[in-house]
């Protein structure tokens, strides 16, 4: 499989229910020189991580459930404690439906390493990924 051909490339798991955002992220992340694996839902991602361990994950927050990203994050950290996680969200604080990161109950179990806005620039995204993967260029 392709995996063996590029054994040195790190694999990034991308999860988002907007297929266009997913496609664009895949293109961006692959242009940084990473491999990607994709899931379009919390459920799909859960199945995927059963068999494959990514080097880093970028998760959407709201998918099937309003807090899909957090649930996924929790499960990932339990299974692969060392794998860094970025939660990307397009929901600005003023939408009124945003998840409260400062809520005590939520904070207890949210273990994402970074929260990023979806509109983040490519260079910045690359920087964040490399920082979390501890790649020095």
């Amino acid at each position: 499989m392709a995996k063996h051909m590029s054994i040195t490339k790190k694999t990034i798991l991308l999860v988002d229910d907007d297929q266009d955002y997913l496609y664009q992220m895949k293109t961006r992340v692959e242009s940084f020189g990473f491999q990607t694996m994709l899931a379009e839902s919390q459920k799909e991602a859960e199945d995927l991580i059963e068999t494959t361990k990514p080097d880093l994950a970028i998760l959407d927050l709201m998918m099937e459930n309003e807090d899909s990203g957090f649930i996924l994050c929790y499960k990932m950290k339990k299974k692969y404690p060392g794998v860094p996680i970025i939660i990307a969200t397009g929901v600005a604080a003023e939408t009124g439906i945003s998840f409260d990161i400062n809520d005590e109950n939520n904070r207890k179990w949210i273990r994402a390493d970074r929260f990023l806005e979806k509109g983040i620039r490519s260079e910045k995204l690359k920087e964040e990924i490399e920082l979390l993967l501890k790649i020095n260029n």
Partner: protein, 377 residues
Amino acid sequence: MSTLKILVIDDEPGIRSGISRILRNFRVDYPFMEEAFDFEVNEAPTGEEGIELIEKDKPDILLLDNKLPGIQGIEVLEYIRKKQMNIIVVMITSYASLELAVKATSDGAYDFIPKPFTPQELKSSIENITKRVFLKKMTSKLQETGKQIRFQFLSVLSHELKAPLNSIEGYLQMIHERQAGPQLESYDYMIDRMLHRINGMRTLIMDLLDLTKVESGKGKRDVKEVRLSDVARTAIDTMRPYSIQKDIRLDLLGDENVTVMADNEEMEIIFNNLISNAIKYNKTGGRVSCTLSERDNCIEILVEDTGIGMTTEEINRIFDDFVRIKNEKTKHIAGTGLGLSIVKKLVDSYHGTIEVTSEPDLGSIFKVKLPTDKPCS
């Protein structure tokens, strides 16, 4: 003019007096804000004294140094969060350490000002915070006047409109940068997806127009005797191509001659939404039937499908604005989340009722009752 109270907790006297000086004659004023803001600055050299002042003065904004002689800035932050005080906290930190930043943000800090800072940096940070304070004030005002729902609606709406725009912008950017090479064909997929998203946006706008009609056009309602089977047939004919594509059988059953005094266009909206949903959330090879009947001064419209169905919990949410049931089965079905909320509002406006029964994987039944004169029994 409103005055915002700022408290500075920092052990360096120079920083404290500097901040006071910079903000003394500073004011924030934007065309979109109804009021201008100026600032009153108080100072505390330690966290302990700071907390005392917080309790006494209830500041709006706190500029907080982390490295303090007694308790640390993080602990002051912790205190504010535990007491659920409505204070916007900005950390002043000499070493912009990522770890501290993450910890403080998760503890409720709003922003950072790295030390040393220029007067301009401080001012622009205060400016942003003031905008946020204004927004908060506005939301709570809206809440008081019952306009909160409207405000939320608009916020969600802007999110729904922004998502396709972002996606289209993303593709255009990729095309602009020729990311898939010089061949135009390589971009076919992206172009298809953009057209698809534009279509979705158009549907959303159409639904919104329906919704505005429902909510504002009550005076303009054109009430006539409407033969419901005609409306149903028009809706079915419109959906026919879609149902053929999914190999779904569409039937109109029951009493052909049922009439109701109503606005024809509004009846069309009800039938279009219910029938298109019945097809959209159906399985290939399924069935949809629309049955009309009249009894006890009441007209009954039944739309049954053999589709994916819903759980009770899902049923409870479907009539709200912008609610779309998201799961594996609905993943690739497009929609705006407004259709059923429009239907519900319309049915309510005719003093009718709408009920749903559903079984996951078996199908759903939507039953609309409209009174012919008195309320339905």
